[in-house]
């Protein structure tokens, strides 16, 4: 670890916070239906969409209708994307002449992009046609992100409204998310990326002769536009197989910063939008600090572990100290143009948010360094998390924290003036059960079935980490891969798709039910007897609840994976 690395971490947080605050203010206006400075451009388009789709923008929905709209919208999108992949050989814009995608892989991929996971069991440049990338991946990148944002907005309305029957209109919320937030930001970011040298074309692949005289096919295409939304919408599905480690997908240190900040920007901004919409910015600040603190600890751990390097390499007489000319530490699987600090920030922030893009290979991290991304997802994807999904997941934890600790002040627990009663606790518990059920359930299945075991590359605890990571990433809708696991098999395509669906919709439905239940409640005005949820005490408590629930759930399997690997490494055993 060195001063330059720490400075980069500080700059990263400063950039994110500086961008998130004004964006939050703006998004609060968007979701409250107030005037914005983009109205002259987008208002006519918005109304046209409503007209064509027969949406009545003034018609508010009960939470059940809202949830139903969300599910129907997602299912239709899923089927359309599946169809595009299956039929891509017959469709235009296919200069590389890609054949139809296999049914199980197409299903896995369609689910993956519908659930904002973007787990990729395929290599983009070797599987997908340009039309598929644009019509399937890019469109889904927008609408799956918008779906998460809409669900969050409904939940926030649940807190802000009193004795109300409705939580908003799903179609309006998602259309506004795309038009007023995702689209303009993507345009700006795309231009910045193109300026930094990222390809944006529809040309055929180029064949080049290397210095050694070998032939190399250089893939290209509409990269910049997809990379922009890949990060802004916390999607993470790379245009290329190597994702943001690929020089065309992340060419410079500046694009790296844009991508890292971009994947946090909207999730962080939504926290501030939440504060404005409930009319109490202190509450937003508390959640923001809790999220940022957890992210900082994760980055710190990863940076420390990676900069420390591999003791076995050092034992062989290799100098792994960091100098002005050598990065030192563990550089395996990392890009030299990014170094250790930026790889640690990227790894922690791509897993804290449910983005899942990678600029280094997590599989090659040290055991503890590699455990950071894994644990980040296991904690529930609430360290900023996916756009919308992160904050609504965080609020579920807040409900549990408030319920346990709120009783300690001698009152029925309440958050933002809404009493937390049996119904809310039941729904929050349902959300929390999803992670252990899906991750441990599918993981255990893969560990005993031959079809599960045959995909594992590394033996011993590291192999266990690979499988655990895959199901954790799928359930958390993260999409990053640990690597090493051959995921494109019938077993993994279907089980991972199931984990993604469970991790997305079995959390969205109870969350919207909470929104509906809260909206119907009165708001208790705060008094000296009210449990304070904006101070440092609550921030600490919230982090403790998240870490304890996640820790208690996953400690045994982590002990069998990265933890035992860490102790073995020190003792000289490698996997």
């Amino acid at each position: 670890m060195n001063a330059a690395g720490i400075l980069q971490i500080v700059i990263f947080f400063a950039v994110v916070t500086a961008g998130a605050i004004p964006l939050g203010t703006y998004m609060a206006r968007v979701y409250s239906g107030e005037k914005t400075w983009l109205d002259p451009v987008f208002k006519p388009i918005e109304h046209l969409i409503y007209k064509i789709c027969l949406i009545k923008p003034d018609q508010e929905q009960h939470w059940t209708v809202y949830a139903f709209s969300c599910l129907v919208f997602s299912v239709i999108g899923l089927l359309l994307m599946y169809a595009v992949m299956r039929l891509q050989a017959l469709l235009p814009l296919n200069p590389a002449e890609m054949s139809a995608v296999a049914p199980d892989l197409a299903f896995n991929t369609a689910v993956s992009f519908t659930t904002n996971t973007n787990w990729q069991n395929y290599g983009g440049e070797s599987t997908m046609a340009y039309l598929t990338q644009m019509l399937g991946m890019t469109v889904k990148n927008f609408v799956s992100a918008a779906t998460g944002m809409a669900v969050l907005v409904a939940l926030v309305r649940g807190f802000a409204r009193r004795q109300a029957k409705t939580v908003g209109n799903f179609y309006v919320d998602s259309v506004r998310s795309v038009l007023y937030v995702l689209l303009p930001l993507s345009i700006v970011v795309t231009l910045a990326l193109v300026w930094q040298g990222m390809p944006q074309n529809l040309d055929a692949y180029v064949e080049a002769t290397t210095l050694e005289g070998a032939k190399q096919v250089i893939a290209q295409g509409p990269v910049a536009s997809q990379v922009a939304i890949k990060h802004l919408g916390t999607n993470g599905g790379g245009f290329f197989n190597a994702n943001s480690a690929h020089p065309f997908e992340n060419p410079t240190a500046l694009t790296n910063l844009i991508e890292m900040a971009g994947q946090l920007l909207i999730s962080a901004g939504l926290v501030f939008a939440f504060g404005r919409m409930i009319g109490d910015k202190r509450q937003a600040r508390a959640l923001y600090i809790a999220m940022a603190a957890m992210l900082a600890v994760g980055i710190g751990f990863a940076y420390w572990a990676e900069a420390g390097g591999n003791p076995q390499v050092q034992a062989m007489g290799v100098d792994i100290a960091s100098t002005d000319t050598a990065p030192g530490g563990n550089m395996e699987g990392k890009e030299v143009r990014f170094g250790i600090a930026n790889s640690a920030i990227f790894a922690a922030s791509t897993t804290g948010t449910s983005c899942g893009a990678v600029n280094s290979m997590h599989d090659s991290f040290t055991p503890i360094g590699g455990m950071v991304p894994l644990v980040n997802i296991m904690l529930g994807e609430v360290i900023f998390g996916g756009v919308g999904a992160g904050l609504h997941g965080m609020i579920v934890f807040v409900i549990v924290a408030v319920f346990i600790a709120g009783l300690m002040v001698g009152r029925t627990p309440e958050y933002l003036g809404k009493k937390m009663e049996a119904k809310e606790v039941k729904l929050a518990v349902l959300c929390i059960l999803i992670f252990p059920l899906s991750i441990l359930g599918f993981g255990a299945l893969a560990m005993v079935l031959p079809v599960g075991l045959s995909s594992i590359a590394a033996p011993g605890p590291h192999g266990l980490s690979e499988v655990l990571y895959a199901f954790t990433s799928a359930t958390g809708n993260n999409g990053s891969a640990f690597g090493g696991l051959s995921g494109n098999t019938l077993f993994y395509n279907t089980t991972l798709a199931a984990a993604m669906l469970i991790g997305r919709f079995l959390i969205i439905v109870p969350t919207l039910a909470i929104a509906g239940s809260l909206a119907a409640k009165k708001i208790v005005p705060p008094s000296a007897g009210t449990f304070p949820t904006h101070g440092s005490l609550f921030i600490g408590l919230l982090i403790a609840v998240i870490v304890v629930i996640g820790g208690l759930t996953f400690f045994p399997v982590l002990a069998l994976g990265p933890i035992v690997e860490h102790f073995s490494l020190a003792a000289g055993t490698l996997f």
Binding site: I404, V425, S527, L560, V564
Partner: protein
């Protein structure tokens, strides 16, 4: 006033412990256990481990002795939880029984109609709501009811402990009678209002009996959370063998069982019911009967307390505070006249006038001679006074309401009543503005001045309101006084707000308004016209001396009829919720240490490297697992006193309470098991148990 409250019995009274031990075994009945999902799970795995033990004994196993001990400690865990509930129940029942000692084999004189004279002797237990019974001198009233004819004095000491008999009559606000009380004079006809098993006491007893007790809303919510955590750990333990098998580890089933039981929240799961019962029990000790557990919980949430002025904020009687002489009158003369007129006055006000006069001017201890005639207060004259024969003739002293005394003086002078002197008017106004009652004094035809009778705010009440404010509870004083007087007393007592010239209607409106704003309101009342407000309030405490209508409308009845009790009730509600939260936090925090005990032990064989996680340095894998299980069982027993007494509660703001409880139960919950498990491990290893 001799109030006797059921004594707080020592925590482990022999008469409670013995039946509780028996009851702990009786509660192993699966139909009882299923009410408590956490303990049910524990019992199921206890059965499973017993089966494993029997198999090991028969077929021989690697860890037979350890398996046997684990099975035994699992049963102890369930029994300890049952025992906690049984002790709480036993204490609750003992207290409730002491309230209704007299309500034994009573017979009732049932009559056909209000005017009927012929009656039929029937057992009290056969009475139904609506039946009419006649109660005469010496009879015990057979059930809760309402006087429909007659008037009688009733000895209610059996339930209130107050020795002075009270009057109950048909109509009006004093018509309610309680079963178990005794008629000591006259004859009344009572209409029974409660079916057997539905009287207040019956309902109260049901609240402290575990098996019949309905779970309260917050308890249900907490149970859901505990069930959720139990399910999480079930998933963890069920999937662990699969992950372990990949690493070539076979985990003995009994170790998995041990892991499951130590992880699921058995501590709070085992004590939850006892905490709830103990909360009701504390209420009974304050002689308050709650008709539902829900009301007790709601008491903890109260935002606004409506308190009647008289008797709650001020002493019932007013006290003389000052003599205000009119210009030209010596204050000593006024005081002497006031003294003389009050010497024979036995009312508290009269006595306070005597005391003040003696204090101010050191009059000799004297009584009125035979020459004096006391003129008592009458509603007609609205004055009292004294006539004294002296050498110079008859001296007449009068004191009373302003218009009465001025009218009297005017009549003496042969004028028509009217023009009150300006000085007197200003003196009277001054007293009213300060929240007092003016009493005008005259000797013969001369107005002397005014006695300032002050509403005495109860000593210490101001501090209590300050405490309530710190807890976030707003107090509102309800009074029939005019706004001027009310404002003065409100300021003196330190209440946050007041409702002057209160009527039942505007009281109800005030409650609705507060509730509309999302606040929870508590109040107490006794009259029939209080009934709508009592029903509307979230916590309505009816005075036992009140009408049947009021007692039906409220959700609690205070047997001592003490309106200040509301404050205690709020505290009991808060303490109940706090005990639950604290023990839940403690229970969950405990798991951290248990992981550090069990995980390295479990995987020791295939991954000796994990020994690094054995931070407690436990002797062997078997002793580590056994120690964790033993700690898990013993902690329930150790916390029974805390569950029964409730966590310490000092009124303070939520912030302060949270900080303290997180420190004690959160941080404590993390640290204590590390020490406890290590200590047990040392013992287990020393005794060679594993």
């Amino acid at each position: 006033m001799a109030i006797h409250r059921p004594q707080e019995m020592s925590l482990f009274d022999g008469s409670i412990i013995r039946p509780a031990v028996i009851s702990a075994f009786a509660k192993l009945d699966p139909r009882d256990l299923v009410r408590n999902p956490v303990m049910f799970t524990t019992a199921v795995v206890a059965v499973l481990s017993t089966v494993l033990f029997i198999r090991d004994v028969a077929a021989g196993g690697e860890y037979t002795a350890v398996v046997g001990q684990i099975a035994a400690w699992l049963w102890f865990t369930v029994l300890f939880a049952n025992f906690a509930e049984a002790v709480a129940e036993g204490r609750g029942k003992a207290q409730a029984e002491s309230l209704r000692k007299t309500k034994t084999e009573t017979s009732a004189k049932k009559v056909g109609g209000v005017d009927a004279t012929a009656f039929r002797e029937v057992p009290a237990t056969s009475l139904r709501a609506g039946d009419l019974v006649v109660c005469e001198l010496g009879d015990t009233i057979p059930g809760d009811g309402e006087v429909v004819a007659g008037i009688a004095t009733i000895d209610e000491s059996a339930i209130t402990g107050e020795s002075a008999p009270v009057i109950r009559e048909s109509g009006g606000d004093r018509s309610a009678v309680t079963g178990g009380t005794r008629v000591v004079s006259d004859r009344i006809v009572v209409r029974i209002t409660a079916n057997p098993g539905e009287s207040f006491l019956d309902r109260m007893i049901a609240l402290v009996e575990g098996a019949k007790r309905q779970k309260t809303p917050n308890e249900i919510a907490l149970t859901i959370l505990l069930v959720g955590l139990t399910q999480v750990f079930l998933i963890v333990c069920a999937t662990l063998p699969a992950f372990a098998s990949y690493s070539g580890t076979v985990i003995p089933v009994v170790f998995l069982i041990a892991l499951l039981v130590t992880l699921i929240p058995t501590t709070i799961g085992g004590l939850l019911s006892a905490i709830g019962i103990a909360g009701m029990d504390r209420l009974v000790r304050f002689n308050v009967i709650s008709k539902s557990g829900r009301a007790v919980e709601a008491a903890g949430d109260i935002d606004v307390l409506l308190l009647d002025k008289t008797g709650t904020i001020t002493l019932g009687a007013r006290q003389a505070a000052e003599f205000i002489a009119l210009p030209g009158v010596n204050e000593r003369d006024l005081a002497e006249a006031a003294l003389l007129s009050s010497l024979a006055d036995e009312t508290p006000e009269g006595k306070s006038i005597v005391a003040l006069a003696r204090k101010r001017f050191s009059f000799a201890e004297s009584t009125l001679g035979a020459a004096a005639t006391f003129i008592p207060f009458s509603a007609h004259t609205r004055m009292s006074g004294v006539n004294i024969e002296t050498a110079s003739g008859l001296v007449e002293i009068r004191k009373g309401a302003t218009d009465s005394v001025t009218g009297y003086v005017a009549a003496k002078e042969g004028k028509t009543p009217g023009g009150v002197p300006k000085e007197l008017v200003s003196a009277v106004e001054r007293v009213a503005k300060a929240g007092g009652t003016p009493l005008v004094v005259a000797r013969d035809n001369r107005l002397l001045g005014v006695i300032y009778l002050k509403d005495m705010v109860k000593p210490g009440i101001r501090e209590r309101f300050a405490t309530l404010r710190a807890m976030g509870i707003r107090t509102v004083m309800i009074t029939g006084d005019n706004p001027l007087t009310a404002a003065a007393i409100a300021a003196e007592a330190g209440v946050d707000d007041f409702l002057a010239e209160a009527t039942p209607e505007n009281k109800l409106e005030l409650i609705r308004k507060e509730q509309q704003g999302g606040r929870l309101v508590a109040m107490c009342g006794d009259g029939s016209n209080d009934a709508p407000a009592l029903a509307q309030a979230d916590v309505g405490v009816a005075m036992n001396t009140g009408t049947q209508a009021a007692r039906e409308a409220g959700n609690m009845v205070d047997l001592e009829s003490d309106p200040t009790k509301l404050i205690e009730i709020v505290m009991i509600g808060k303490q109940l919720l706090m005990s639950r939260g604290s023990l839940t936090t403690f229970s969950i925090a405990n798991d951290i240490a248990k992981y550090f005990a069990i995980i390295p032990a479990m995987f020791m064989v295939s991954y000796p490297q994990l020994q690094a996680l054995n931070v407690m340095g436990l002797a062997s894998p078997q002793s580590a697992i056994l120690s964790a299980i033993i700690f898990n069982a013993l902690i329930i027993i150790a916390l029974i006193p805390l569950a029964l007494r409730g966590v310490k509660y000092k009124p303070a703001s939520a912030e302060v309470l949270l900080r303290r409880n997180i420190l004690v139960y959160g941080l404590g919950g993390i640290i204590v098991p590390f020490i406890g498990i290590k200590a047990i491990d040392l013992l287990v290893a020393a005794l060679g148990l594993a």
